[in-house]
Symmetry: C2
Subunit: 345 residues, 2 copies
């Protein structure tokens, strides 16, 4: 069970899931992005008929290189989730929708709040309306975010934690996930929300820090530049390797009991940003890090430590991350050493 480029996938736990996707019609919004394209690769292996939709907006995560090797085995449609006519066409006949398209940059959401709203709220509502009218049996898994919890009251953060976003992106992502849960409870469209924490791995955006700071770190370390750590580097975070997130998405879609629910992802490994940078330098066999004070802009939306409690998802669906941070970072470094120019040139 290998990806076209030779990286092994995490083993999937059950045959049920493998069977579930065989010959299914599956739509992925944001399907040329980091998580979407990794999911598409796995679904192709599982025998699904995959359509990916992506806007290829330059500031976002879409990259045609992400589907290198499966390009002739999936349908690719360049269109925007804000286009209700295109989306109505795509939704027709699909069994499963992995709804991953979104604006993810916190800083961009403050600079262009209306674009963030159009993508993370308006397009989501429009897509759900389309499903309600034309394909209410479709199963939907929505990519939510830990960002909605804001600055944690306690750690690890479970799903009962107050929702208290600290930026426009967090507010809009909250509305987006609530629409999904509402369309489940009101119209019976099976929707599951996974609240992702920091996801990393091959195919992530590494051109800048828009998707995660780990992206720009990978680029900088490969280019021989110092890693910038904001603040004093003691902020702790949890990280999921992308294959583990893909497995979570598949499990959520294949399970009836996940409908109408929101689950945190998370990791057993919690690290400070400084320790993470040091691990990356060690794996790289050299390099250096630089502590930089927070900009005023960043300070206002900084949330301190965050790590998630994923025991609800583990208990109900049997998911647990399998790839260690060390292993995941090693694979990521290897990937960008080989393919980096496809991501930052």
């Amino acid at each position: 069970m290998h990806e076209p480029n030779g990286l092994p996938f995490a083993e999937l736990p059950t045959m049920m899931e493998t069977d579930f996707f065989n010959h299914r019609n599956v739509l992925i919004t944001g399907g040329l992005g980091f998580i979407g394209s990794t999911l598409a690769r796995r679904l192709v292996e599982l025998g699904a008929k995959v359509t990916v939709v992506d806007s290829l907006i330059p500031q976002y995560g879409g990259n045609l290189f992400n589907i290198e090797g499966i390009r002739d085995r999936i349908r690719v449609n360049i269109s925007d989730v804000r286009d209700p006519f295109a989306m109505a066409h795509h939704v027709r006949g699909q069994d499963v929708l992995f709804n991953l398209a979104g604006q993810t940059s916190h800083l961009d959401s403050m600079k262009e709040p209306e674009a963030d709203l159009d993508i993370n709220c308006k397009a989501q509502l429009s897509l759900l309306e389309t499903c309600r009218k034309t394909n209410p049996a479709i199963r939907i898994v929505f990519a939510g975010t830990r960002q909605i919890y804001g600055k944690p009251d306690y750690l690890p953060v479970d799903e009962a934690h107050p929702i208290r976003p600290v930026d426009v992106n967090g507010i809009n992502k909250t509305a987006g996930e609530w629409y999904h849960l509402l369309y489940n409870s009101t119209y019976g469209i099976p929707c599951t929300v996974l609240r992702l924490t920091n996801t990393y791995g091959p195919r992530m955006r590494v051109k800048d820090a828009r998707q995660t700071f780990l992206g720009i770190w990978l680029r900088r370390i490969i280019e021989g530049q110092p890693l910038q750590v904001f603040g004093d580097g003691t902020q702790r975070r949890d990280f999921n390797y992308v294959d583990d997130v893909v497995e979570a998405l598949l499990l959520a879609a294949a399970s009836d009991k996940a409908a109408g629910k929101a689950y945190n992802l998370g990791s057993g490994e919690v690290v400070s940003l400084k320790a993470l940078a040091e691990l990356l330098l060690e794996l790289n066999g050299g390099g250096r890090l630089e502590l930089s004070p927070f900009s005023e802009e960043l300070k206002k939306i900084d949330i301190g430590d965050y790590y998630g409690n994923f025991t609800k998802f583990e208990g109900e669906l049997g998911w647990r991350p399998k790839i260690s941070l060390r292993e995941g970072l090693k694979r990521s470094l290897e990937y960008y050493r080989r393919h980096g120019k496809e991501y930052w040139d």
Copy 2:
């Protein structure tokens, strides 16, 4: 201290507040609506220079009759909060913005979710952006709603209660109030959110139940028709007479310590819908009520009992409702007996 049509206003607690509004430039969105127009009347008495903006969308609360008697003492502009160019013009030079424009119908929000989103989210964000760019010193009071709490975990509901809306309107109103609090914390624009419960009184929409079921009850009782109570009539609610809400809005705008905060309104009097209907029949001197089973549509978004804890607002700003339910209903009946045809013909 009387309204032009002779109804006494609740006394205001301090001279400070009276002074605060004298010669101030005040903008009210939704200013031809129920609460907005009552607020405009009071502000005219307090010496403010009032501009009201209203879209006069037929399904909403705007009604030109609401400003009868003060029409030549205020500026009236018919425009929509979704029009960013008009709003940029209106915001200029204002000291205070009472941001009351909104879509309020829960059922309409499910039927036309995108219109609700445009008004309750997109226009709010656009208005805040306009304030940030052109008038960041403006004080804003935003009309929030108890609807954001959904089905209560405990009663009375305080501000620490989880936010868990059960319809599109509740989700969008949550985003709307969070944008305001975010623009306060991030950009220092003084914004206060009042989470209103059921507001009633003269000038409310009574043509139908879009604003509150109490509206249609007033119309039906005057027209000699039975009052429809949904479910078994045991659901309990709290009600604020509009003058008390106007006082709360004024206090919030005039107080520096309210900036960046969200407060519940509420009432010491909590009644079941059946008891409320009976009180109305008693005040009317006759009529009858009819228990109707919930429609499937209503059942899905019913929240059971709700009443709010307003001790935070009372403690910090000294507000307490002054008009009893009996007195408020009496005034409302009088008003619609005299002016009903301006509201339902």
